[in-house]
């Protein structure tokens, strides 16, 4: 469970998030959406403890090593000399090397990347690299999985594979995912949070009604 109490975050003088109070229950699947620069990634980083709130507080019953994180793929250096297996092993740093290797192989199999262990991370396709990052996040069986736009800039086939993977993970852990691709997640999430300096929660049904009234969100309008 995660609880935020009147949470605010300012970057220098610029307010990014203001007065956010909400509770995320254990096992919930949450989608976070909102305009670019609205504070989605900042909110995620606050929940994971990478940033400290300017005001208010965050409480959770989960330790940081029990959290898995899939950052945006664009933040990685494609030229970094590292294999897919080594990337996934980084999700199991507290385990001895031999055990971490075994766990990483299992996680790669789980995301459909068996046989790609020795491939350079930089030479994987966008969808494969994203799945390797998901494998890294789930390799040590986290209680909360955070994902920051895992389906951005990847082909539809890879998107489908990731959607399928998230469906499999649903219920096994709390999932909090930033996404612009609402149509693909709206059916499987328990709740949606619109982040635009403040946070407005929606149920999937409520969001559809909201959209029906014309209070649309542009990414949803691009849906097929």
């Amino acid at each position: 469970m995660i609880e935020t109490d009147h949470l605010s975050f300012h970057y220098e003088e610029e307010p990014i998030l203001q007065d956010v109070t909400l509770t995320i229950k254990t096992g919930e699947f949450i989608a976070i959406f909102g305009p670019n620069g609205g504070g989605k990634t900042t909110f995620l980083k606050l929940l994971m403890g990478f940033l400290k709130p300017t005001q208010g507080s965050i409480r959770t019953d989960v330790d940081r090593p029990e959290m898995g994180y899939v950052p945006q793929l664009a933040s990685f250096d494609k030229q970094f000399p590292i294999s897919a297996l080594e990337v996934v092993m980084m999700g199991a740093l507290s385990y001895p090397v031999s055990q971490a290797k075994k766990m990483a192989r299992t996680a790669l199999e789980r995301v459909g990347l068996a046989g790609k262990e020795k491939m350079a991370f930089g030479s994987l396709s966008g969808g494969q690299a994203q799945r390797a990052l998901i494998a890294r996040a789930i390799v040590s069986h986290p209680k909360i999985l955070f994902l920051d736009e895992p389906t951005a800039n990847i082909d539809p086939e890879a998107q489908q594979l990731i959607d399928q993977l998230l469906t499999e993970l649903k219920g096994k852990m709390t999932i909090i995912m930033v996404t612009h691709n609402l149509p693909s997640v709206i059916k499987k999430v328990d709740r949606l949070l619109c982040v635009q300096r403040q946070i407005t929660p929606f149920s999937p049904e409520g969001l559809c009604e909201h959209f029906a009234l014309g209070l649309y969100h542009p990414p949803l309008m691009r849906s097929p």
């Binding site: 990685f76 970094f80 030479s123």
Partner: protein, 270 residues
């Protein structure tokens, strides 16, 4: 037959290559070449101070290399602290440390009486000047660098690739980052004896940058980088002997020529 001093120079060069290959690989993949340049140039302040204290106050046990080590570690700590606390202004502050270190060095050199040939050797390198004691010190520092790398490689790799993930795993990222910078500082001092403070960044960055083109594994990159560094030292020392050129600059130039050649070859092949 090679002269004894040439053998000594080659041995010193090979010892320095172990360090430059391993630490240079971390420097290149972590993209902290600019930080390493700042550490390398700020050592001038420490060397100048020690030489001044030695000459003016007669503190004989002080040597420029001790000052270099102290200045390198202090600037590594300062830069690391700035990186961790004030990331937005990092490049400006690193440039300030770079120039401040050099400015302090220049002032102390000016205040130090006599002709500072010793200082010139540390600035531009003179591998032919290596004594048995220096060689043992180089090998000792090699052992420290290799042992620290063997112990911390998994942690260094994690911090170089993704600091956030390492932090989430409960790793003391700041401590590991500081240890890495301290190793860069120690390596800088080792390399100063071979190529000099001004050219040290070439030996840290160029062999590793070339090695990066031939492998997708960091451990292999380190091994290739060590071999390349040995090769550049070998060619550089022999060329400088034949042409009567400064050895440090010749080694750096040979490395740069290889890098330039590779760059041109890659550009024409694409």
């Amino acid at each position: 037959m090679l002269h004894t001093f040439l053998w000594m120079a080659l041995l010193a060069g090979f010892a320095a290559s172990v360090t430059s290959g391993i630490i240079g690989s971390y420097v290149v993949v972590k993209r902290i070449v600019f930080i390493s340049g700042s550490i390398a140039h700020s050592v001038l302040g420490g060397m100048g101070l020690c030489l001044w204290l030695k000459r003016v106050y007669g503190i004989d046990w002080m040597t420029p290399i001790q000052g270099a080590l102290l200045a390198a570690l202090v600037s590594a700590f300062l830069i690391g602290w700035i990186h961790l606390k004030y990331r937005q202004r990092e490049d400006t502050v690193i440039a300030a440390i770079w120039s401040t270190g050099m400015a302090i060095g220049v002032i102390f050199i000016a205040l130090t009486p006599g002709y500072n040939v010793e200082m010139m050797n540390f600035l531009f390198g003179n591998i032919l000047w290596i004594s048995h004691g220096d060689l043992w010190m180089l090998l000792g520092l090699d052992v420290i660098v290799v042992a620290t790398t063997l112990i911390f490689h998994r942690k260094f790799l994690a911090v170089c690739f993704d600091e956030d993930q390492a932090s989430l795993q409960g790793m003391h990222v700041n401590g590991v980052y500081m240890t890495l910078l301290a190793l860069v500082a120690v390596s800088t001092v080792i390399l100063i004896q071979v190529v000099g403070a001004i050219l040290v960044i070439a030996m840290l960055a160029i062999p590793a940058a070339i090695a990066g083109h031939f492998t997708q594994r960091l451990s292999k990159m380190m091994a290739i980088s060590v071999l390349l560094s040995c090769l550049f030292t070998f060619i550089g020392v022999l060329t400088s002997y034949q042409l009567n050129w400064p050895p440090g600059a010749t080694i750096a130039l040979i490395a740069a020529l290889f890098y330039g050649g590779l760059f041109i070859k890659r550009s024409t092949c694409q």
